[in-house]
Amino acid sequence: MPAGPPAGFAARIVELGEELRDEGMQVGTTGLLDAFAALEAVGWTDPEIFREALSATLAKSPEDRRVFELVFDRWLFRAAEQAAVDLAVKESERGDGTDASELDGAPSEREFDISELNLDVLRQQIAAALRDGSEGAMRDLARLAIAAFGQQGNGSGVIGVDVQRIRRALGLRAEPQPDLPEDDPRRDGLPREQLRRFEQILRRELERGQIERTEQLPAKRALSELDRALPTGAVQDLAAIHRVVAQLKRRLKTQGQEQRGRKRRVHVDVRRTMRASLETGGVPVVIKTKPMRPRRPEIFVLCDVSTSVTSASVFFLSVMHALHDSFRKMRSFVFIERVSEVTETFTKERDFRAVSEAIGRDAGVADISGYTDYGRVWSEFRALVEDELHPRATVIVLGDARTNGRDPRADTFAAIAAKAGRTFWLNPEPRLYWNYGDSVISAYEEHCQAFECWTTTQLEDFVKALTQPVGR
């Protein structure tokens, strides 16, 4: 049985729990208690086992697991560095078995004579380590690389910049480099995953150096949405999208009922009341009311299928596909430079693949350039459906609002939005990139509700907004 954990250990684990909660994971007290029980059972000295035991008790879905791994790395690094700062351990003093090096499981310090560093040899060694994927060697070599470049006075002070600089100077690339000699490990290109890992280690080491100089920890950064998104295949996405849309359908169906309860006001059906009154000699004892009909939404969907949204348009077409399964009164359009109605294609073809092929083949939406022309699209769309838009219609636009420098014609869009009851815009780009470059989403955002939508979770948010009862 391993020795008991050091003092303050429990507090650190609870801290990890707090951090996980901050990132939106549901970590209950039971989970933490389980974690302690688990650590008691398997010991806490082996870093791999420590991590696995915690993740088995705290992270209970693939998404959570991903977040857990990111947070755990951050937490472990910070905990180790904090301990080092507290104990005033310096790099040179490490290796004599201080608490800090024990905590983060750092490999024992190897003695390298920095003055003898040969950059070419170092390059080869790093590339070889990357190819073989040996973690310990990578870490040691990262330190060497930093030392070598620090010597040349290349440090810019910004960690991200330094990492890329070092990587470039080492000539590490994922693509094959055929002009290198035969025996060079970089010749066939390095595994992308390993390269990313090496960059991570570099970043870690640079941060470590910075912390040592300033003797304090930098501010903690929250995980970005991009980091935590799970890499998933399009097919899985398709299933997820169908699930979300099924939810949307259910919400829309029950919406009418909800209103029935809330809206007490009813209309008297005079004709039926009179007929019923005949039974009671003309006295209207029983009042007959007009039945409440649940609102049937009429949906117009416009989907951008140009090259700038290639990856997203698969997502969007599948959203449309799923919507078509759910709504009878729905008309679909695709656009690049012109608009084309594809409602029939969707109703005829059941298979998603066939649909996307058919659209690619005969929609005829690209004219000359193949770049989106929003201005023209709006005016064409308006001409097509102007008479059919009414306050109960919902218009949904799927696109990135990148006009390629052409006139956005927000006024035409405003006219469409004014005629339709509600207008939504789903943008496949993260909000961060909105209004950068030729994105003119802000011009349209005045007239509609815009959502960023590139994960199914965000699609769910949109579903919530779409199905909110309208105060009318």
Binding site: Q26, G28, G31, V42, E48, E52, K60, S61, R65
Partner: protein
């Protein structure tokens, strides 16, 4: 029964000895399940050995495996217990008419008239068992709620009899293919194990274990190809079970190498969808050498 394991390495060894090669996390979580007595929720794509893990554990620990296969519409009567209605009727008929209702009632709601279903069997068993609740995501939420009592306290309430408490602590594994989000309440009571497709080396080991006659180089090539196929965007990516099947098929055919022709001929072993077949033949098939 093997000695109680104390380290993940023990479990790893033990599972290997019964023909299951666990990943590091699988060994660790199994150990935790044995030591903490908590149920384990095993998730992952189909065919990565979730059910096999339970079978291997039962073999390794020398315990009986009690399996509850879940499906839509599974209810208490099929999962927990049922009164043996016919036997009860016979009992009443056999009873002399003089006995009062009270006595008969006492009599016919005894353990003798109880039909044990898997969960009940697992709990009432005098020897510790391994309980496998397979594909829990196929059932509805109500059933999950019913499981909570069993999973957290290892006891069952039968209105006519009272509470049945577990005499021994079973090792419980729940598997799910993640087709439906399970409730938080259930997740909270479980340890979590995510089984994914193994890496090349690990899978090679597994294939070699199940098809030892297959040439090493062929096996390696096979595993690499399966890895490539998994990267494609398929409806149903090939699982470990399918790589093993493929290895066996190659053995039967006596193939010494996987070239373009053998690949196309045996493709249907690993890919089971019409559309997938086309994609794989198109993307992977062409990379293999054609026989001259």
């Amino acid at each position: 029964m093997a000695a109680a394991p104390t380290t993940p390495a023990d479990v790893d060894q033990g599972l290997r000895s019964v023909g299951y090669l666990p990943s590091a996390s699988a060994a660790l979580v199994s150990l935790l399940a044995i030591k903490l007595g908590k149920p384990v929720l095993v998730e992952g794509p189909a065919g990565v050995g979730k059910t096999e893990l339970a079978k291997a554990l039962s073999k390794y620990l020398g315990r009986e495996l009690v399996r509850l296969q879940c499906y839509e519409g599974l209810d208490e009567a099929k999962a927990l217990y049922e009164w043996n209605y016919r036997k009860q009727l016979l009992r009443i008929q056999a009873e002399a008419s003089g006995t009062g209702w009270e006595d008969v009632q006492e009599d016919i709601f005894g353990e003798e008239f109880l039909l044990e279903r898997p969960l009940m069997t697992a709990i009432a068993s005098p020897d510790p068992v391994v309980l496998l609740i397979d594909e829990i995501d196929k059932t509805d939420q109500e059933f999950e709620a019913m499981l909570l009592e069993v999973l957290s306290d290892f006891q069952l309430s039968i209105p006519e009899l009272g509470t049945v408490k577990a005499k021994t602590h079973p090792v419980v594994l729940l598997t799910s293919n993640n087709t439906r989000e399970l409730t938080e309440a259930l997740k909270r009571r479980c340890l979590y194990l995510w089984l994914d497709y193994p890496d090349t080396e690990h899978e090679l080991e597994i294939v070699r274990l199940h098809a030892p006659e297959l040439d090493e180089t062929v096996a390696r090539k096979l595993v690499e190809i399966v890895g490539m196929v998994r990267e494609l965007d398929l409806k149903k990516p090939p699982s470990i079970a399918e790589s093993i099947d493929w290895a066996r098929a190659l053995l039967l055919l006596g193939a010494g190498d996987i070239d373009g022709e053998t690949f196309t001929n045996t493709l249907s072993v690993i890919v089971k969808h019409r559309t997938d077949l086309d994609i794989v033949a198109e993307r992977v098939g062409v990379k293999l050498p054609r026989p001259v």
